[in-house]
């Protein structure tokens, strides 16, 4: 599994995009998916500076491809409404973070985004994520994706 309970925060205390990324990156670092937390955060935020990874429906999928990632991972956080410079201008309350080692060819990255996006288009799936109260609930929902 790309995701595990150590990579989930059900009530991430963050007011900005940067704080959200930092919070989720720190979880990945503690779980051994990243060997250089600052470098990963920088990669993700540089990408965000170029364009927003908000995908609509209050959801963002920040991601970073860098040698600081030792193992591909998916993290998830529920946040209070945070501005993510979304095209639809709406704030974000669900965040998925993806990390892929630089040596992986571009396709893994794209595959993860595609699989997640297919599910996120479904309103029921989004509702389930928002209703989920425990990390176990989230894992159970995401197990159907990957």
């Amino acid at each position: 599994m790309l995701i595990n309970e150590a990579l989930i925060d059900m009530a991430l205390d963050a007011d900005t995009k940067e704080e959200v990324v930092r919070g989720l990156a720190t979880l990945a670092y503690k779980d051994g998916k990243i060997n250089d937390c600052e470098k990963y955060i920088e990669a993700v935020l540089n990408r965000e500076a170029e364009y927003s990874t908000a995908v609509g429906f209050g959801i963002a999928i920040p991601h970073g491809k860098t040698e600081a990632v030792t193992e591909p991972f998916l993290g998830f956080g529920k946040v209070k409404e945070v501005d993510w410079n979304a095209l639809d201008t709406k704030p974000v309350d669900l965040v998925f973070i993806i990390g892929v080692p630089k040596k992986d060819s571009g396709s893994l990255h794209l595959k993860l985004l595609a699989k997640l996006s297919r599910k996120l288009m479904n309103e029921t799936f989004r509702d389930e994520l928002r209703k989920a109260e425990t990390k176990k609930d989230i894992i159970a929902i995401l197990e159907t994706v990957f």
């Binding site: 990408r47 170029e50 364009y51 927003s52 908000a54 995908v55 609509g56 429906f57 095209l87 571009g106 396709s107 990255h109 794209l110 595959k111 985004l113 595609a114 997640l116 996006s117 297919r118 996120l120 288009m121």
Partner: protein, 83 residues
Amino acid sequence: MVKTFTVPFEEGLHARPATELVKICQNIQSDVVFKKNDMNVNPKSILGILTLEAKKGDQITVEIQGADEKEAMKKLEDYFTAK
């Protein structure tokens, strides 16, 4: 109108190219459908575009139907063939 394009972007169709594409498509009044293999998606949504999992070199068939289809197809042609 129907035309097929090849994805020219090194990283595939996500990230900045996907954001630019959504912006272009949201300004098109006609209905736009992108097709790859057996998938049909609405490119006016980022999620729709990401769903395609379009890598560099993949072929995407673009179908546009509506009042501004000619100008719209031109814009998309420019988008896929720029640089």
